[in-house]
Assembly symmetry: C2
Homo-oligomer: 435 residues x 2
């Protein structure tokens, strides 16, 4: 069914971050946007009209997550990284069934949808269950089943399985193309160089996205530089770059690394919350953007940065950029909003989400105004409005969410799955894993 | 009326950050705590019992704010600091009436109470209206009417007015001693040294708290060091230290400055959100705590760090401490919780708030469990529970709040004032100031 959404403010998240007043978003029966613009100039559109009272914007794009880890949230807190992994996380993950991954992902999707995050880039094991959970909740997922080596895992088999899945179902599938399927080679330090070579070739052949952790920690960076030059240099020399690549974290980059990313159109998932909490370091957001690298924001997994609230990470990205450059104008509210939407899509090499523009999927968020952040209402200057939205409002003000034109959150609650049931189911998994 | 609160989890915020299971908080008719401990061992208490299903903890303490600035929130966003002040904030403040200050403070108090922040340390002009707003909403305020010089302001008169007010009403007054009155010399760079001397003497004479901005920005630090040695050294030599002093921000401190603060028992209000957003720098939280300086967390004013959500600033304090020291164990959830409560009270030189202990005021927060952060419920290890509370839950989970034993938030809404009315009133002020 086609649909017109009309609201006093629409933020299409075009490159200029326009603020449209009294505007519409017209959605066709397939769930794609056919028009977005001021009501007064809108062409006739034969569809029911949904009159909204707040702000419409594109669904946020979380460019790096391991959302099934909702069931591990809180485990081993405050242990040093290596003990956290070996004493808390890996033992628990070793006990996780396919169903556990599904149940964890359902709760993660519920959390993200309620926060207005319509797309998440996910790297995890049991990819089929991650995809199914997204199909169950209505969330959009850019999925990279993990490819690892050792500990009983065989990277060649994992790679072949993904290729076979893509060859069977396509890179994008599901209603509204909910699922995008790609490759998740975990990192350069957990895989041999020939794995990177073969993953690069397989992904390019299929036009599929590669998601990989890059230069997240000081240790990784130091080991890698001693052995192979930098991580980006190794990715380039092994032939992984050149297609659609998303480099998560990318904290420890030299100028040459940034230039290499720019030349190869590598997208970056900046994860400020995780990088701060795990003491990984401060990524060079401003330098990456100045070099024209597409950067989005990611929450990372909820076991390490616990709330999957992308609004908080977007604020962190802007604030951390400001304090690390000692420049209070390094990133403003408009740029922060684009980082969470349009730029996030770009980092994922997608031009069909992240903005309210004809041809893109109608992934739309309605922010309500019943909050102190919007005490002055909407009749304020554009910069003021954007500041209130980004700096003071955030996830708690999200009321309604559509993915591919389908309403998946209504008045703050998910429509396809019962939030409390999702909590209870995931909670049981956590207790079993703790036991 | 006396009251017993009983809940499955009580976090008294004692120095060890104990987690009590099935425990009670007993409150006498004056609004003070008479007992807090496990239900099984509790002495008989003749009072109605309120059975709660979530987590009880002390009300949070915001150690530095200018909350009436809710009416300026969003103005001049993304201007460099000096243009933001001269083009946006000062012209708008010049138009603010006493009533505007009251209305802005009411909205600020409403926001803070709903987030479980029961006490805020406030520096602003028109102190009477700030106090009245707190008395209207039921919030607790540690008030420092601002003392400034120049631009038509006379520090001698402002100082004399505060002394006269304290001599009339006392340092603490109002039901449940809601208001504490002290001195707010704005900063060493906006006042002559003799003002610092006289404020120090007047405050010590009355046992009153001094709140002052210290070494917030690089510029301030550089100018001050060139002229007088460091800001803390100037405060010491002018005689301002020695009594109850709270130094807000304190970003740019040398080892000697920290030692000076420790020797003079100066409390520090660490404002990580404001310091990041305004690119002021990164305060030395770990070094201050290692030197035994009492440090709390502050939001700063809502015109600069826009949402008055202390939970977010507490997370920031921990995360910024971790990344700036490159140590992921620099601050964990338990320490972060104490920073927001017990340590905040200590920074304000108060031992009657910030913990659930006999003799302290019954400023109590009830956190509800209907949230993905608590999917696994309360039957998890203590560290797990604290991690979920601090890293994943936060302000949105606060359901009920008491100040001095009086319930001021019930099921998420303020009881004394209507939140929507407060929003509408403050919104009108903003629009007039923008016009």
């Amino acid at each position: 069914m086609s649909l017109r959404l009309r609201a006093p403010i629409v933020l299409p998240c075009d490159a200029a971050c326009s603020v449209l007043r009294d505007a519409v978003v017209d959605i066709d029966t397939d769930g794609r946007i056919v028009h977005c613009g001021p009501f007064a100039d809108a062409p006739a559109f034969d569809a029911p009209v949904r009159e909204l009272t707040g702000i419409l914007l594109p669904g946020l794009v979380n460019t790096h997550a391991h959302s099934p880890m909702t069931v591990l949230r809180g485990m081993g807190d405050n242990l040093p990284l290596i003990r956290w992994l070996t004493e808390a996380i890996w033992p628990a993950e070793g006990k996780m069934t396919r169903q556990d991954v599904h149940d964890g992902m359902v709760l993660g999707s519920v959390e993200m949808l309620r926060a207005g995050v319509t797309t998440s880039a996910e790297m995890y094991f049991h990819g089929e269950e991650v995809a199914q959970a997204a199909l169950d909740t209505g969330a959009r997922v850019v999925l990279a089943p993990a490819i690892l080596d050792g500990l009983g895992m065989d990277w060649r088999k994992m790679l072949a399985d993904i290729s076979a899945w893509i060859d069977a179902d396509g890179v994008r599938f599901g209603p509204g193309e909910r699922v995008e399927l790609g490759y998740g080679p975990h990192s350069a330090y957990t895989l041999p160089p020939e794995a990177l070579t073969e993953v690069g070739a397989a992904a390019r052949e299929r036009g599929a996205l590669i998601q990989i952790h890059v230069a997240e920690s000081t240790q990784e960076d130091e080991v890698q530089r001693a052995n192979h030059g930098s991580v980006p240099a190794l990715l380039a020399s092994s032939g992984l770059l050149g297609g659609r690549v998303l480099a998560a974290h990318s904290v420890h980059l030299s100028d040459e690394d940034i230039a290499l990313f720019a030349a190869n159109r590598v997208g970056v998932a900046h994860c400020p919350g995780s990088n701060m909490k795990l003491a990984s370091g401060i990524a060079r957001l401003r330098d990456l953007r100045a070099a024209d690298v597409a950067v989005g924001v990611g929450t990372d997994g909820p076991a390490s940065n616990d709330d999957l609230d992308l609004w908080e990470d977007v604020r962190l990205a802007a604030m951390l950029s400001r304090v690390s450059t000692m420049d209070s104008t390094a990133m403003g509210a408009a740029d922060a909003l684009l980082l969470a939407t349009r730029c996030g899509a770009e980092a994922l090499h997608r031009n069909d989400i992240g903005a309210l523009e004809p041809g893109r999927w109608a992934d739309v968020v309605h922010v309500g105004l019943d909050d102190p952040a919007f005490a002055a209402g909407l009749d304020v200057p554009d910069t003021h409005l954007l500041a209130n939205l980004i700096w003071a409002a955030g996830s708690r003000t999200v009321r309604d969410v559509w993915v591919a034109g389908e309403q998946v959150v209504a008045d703050g609650e998910t429509t396809r799955v019962d939030r409390r049931e999702a909590q209870a189911t995931a909670g049981k998994v956590t207790k079993r894993l703790l036991g």
